[in-house]
Amino acid sequence: MALSIPCSTTNVISIDEYLDHVRTQVKIRDFDSVAGSARMLRALANDRALIVRGLNSRIENYLADGVLPSAQALFLAGGDGFYVRAAIWPAINDMVSGRAYQDQFAYNLAHDHNFSFMTVNHLGPGYETELYEYDYDKVEGFVGEAVDLRFVEKVRFGADIAMLYRANRDVHVQYPPTELTITVNLMVADRDSLLRDQYFFDLATRTIAGYPPELAATKRQSLLNLAGFLGDDNTAQLLNDLALRHPCKKTRLSAFNALSRQQPHEAASIWGRASADPAPLVANTARKRLQNLENA
């Protein structure tokens, strides 16, 4: 389950001290090492002016930061393989009254992340979160697929704990807090996450409900779809290379789709090759396409 780490401290450190600590003391891809740095993240969040400075600067620069395309997140600083951000969680009353737009904030939406991150509270009472876990390797990855989501606990995310979420394992859903809450997060931004999936889940049916639009695989799919429509004589070979060799299963599937759009007369052969793909998502989709072709 997501790790709750006691991290009470009255120490205060600056963002530069924190970055230096992570760069020199934390193995960012090592879960235990990240967990071991929770007290330092707490000390950073103890800087009462941390977010004020960031937001003042956002206004003064009229959004020259432009790093995180979200009204909820505020980029604070970054290093090799990680970055630090704040997340803003408006209160339930501010949502109801319209002082904050609900659709700008990630509430009531069960999801995992394809990166690990650690979070501590900076301001306010903390949000409530329901935690689940699932086995990423047992999921095929199509919308509507039943997933064995195991409920772990519902917690109020308080002042003296850090929560460490594991990539593609912990699922959470956040509920609006009673008062404005701000969290400070250490985000593990390893390039491998660009190849992993991330899902929205429907808790009522325990199924995959969709994929976030900001997912790298979704962006690659956008390009590959265009290639299926607008490609020329040289495109087929490129699509074929991606279909056979790209390490992301969703990207391979998108490449097979684009190929079959570009070369409809070769569709049976294309889906035949796809049916040998090691990922069930690709192979099973291919078998359905072959079946459809036979029935047509």
């Binding site: 937001l55 009204a71 700008q104 190849l195 790298a216 265009l226 390490p247």
Partner: protein
């Protein structure tokens, strides 16, 4: 701004020699270079180069989103490729000027006139679109999106790749109209940055740290009326005297909602004393 490949450089140069963002009418001078771009066949070449980048580096990410892949972000304009594949729930009054070019088959839809009295920055739910005929744009033809006069609702019977050359947002709000009644439904910020600034003002008001007085005062002059008012409201949590100055100024604000809210606030303060 990312550098464009050399075969797009001429196109970019031509657009930027014609379009001066300060004079929005010059946007319509861009049709010829767009037609030449389509005829040149370089769009396939550009896509192939993106695919090759992905083969060379599986983790490579270009300027792609779920909705479009960007060919070039210029000074006040963007060229991108998108696939129209999902009908929109509402009819959107777009905040930018644009040329849309269907690249695979015909683009069809309805065109509506913006209602009399329409003012982009003053949302009015009583306004209703006026039908202004159907659209039929052949493959590789240019559709001029004259969004200062018209609203477009495209039919999407099948996925359709489209070249989009659009200006940056020229108006603060994007209105949504009901497809069934043609009535105005809601208006959203045209730019995410406006929403981010309003959230920033809201949070700074809640935290109420004295260092935010100057930034909020500055934000009180933002071009977007909702950002201005949010800044003034939240300045009131930090400094009553500063906020009063801004509220008194806001009584003469160019936006009627801000003027009304400022006057109401002053009236309430008078009643309390």
């Amino acid at each position: 701004m990312a550098a464009s490949p050399s075969y797009l450089a001429d196109f970019v140069r031509e657009i930027e020699s014609r379009y001066t963002p300060a004079n929005t009418e010059t946007f319509w001078l861009c049709d010829e270079p767009i037609q030449r771009l389509i005829a040149s066949g370089v769009l396939s070449r550009w896509i192939n180069e993106q695919l090759q980048s992905l083969i060379n580096d599986a983790q490579h990410l270009g300027d792609w989103t779920a909705a479009e892949t960007v060919l070039h972000r210029g000074k006040g304009w963007t060229a991108s490729l998108a696939i129209f594949d999902t009908p929109r729930r509402f009819i959107h009054a777009l905040p930018f000027l644009g040329f849309y070019v269907p690249l695979d088959s015909t683009l069809t839809g309805q065109r509506y006139g913006l209602p009399r009295g329409f003012r982009n920055d003053v949302f009015d739910p009583s306004l209703r679109l006026e039908p202004a005929g159907s659209l039929n744009v052949e493959r590789n033809e240019l559709l001029r999106l004259e969004t200062d006069r018209f609203v477009y609702d495209f039919h999407i019977p099948r996925p359709l790749p489209v070249l989009r050359i659009i200006s940056n947002s020229l108006r603060p709000l994007e209105w949504l109209f009901s497809k069934s009644t043609l009535q105005a439904w809601q208006a959203n910020d045209a730019e995410l940055s406006s929403t981010q600034l309003r959230v920033a003002a809201f949070v700074l008001g809640k935290i109420a740290h004295h260092s935010s007085i100057a930034p909020l005062r500055q934000l009180g002059s933002h071009p977007h009326h909702a950002v201005r008012w949010s800044a003034i409201q939240n300045l009131g949590r930090l400094s009553r005297s500063e906020a009063l100055l801004k509220i008194r100024e806001a009584v003469n604000d160019p936006h009627p909602h801000v003027r009304r809210a400022a006057q109401k606030t002053l009236d309430q303060l008078d009643k309390k004393h």
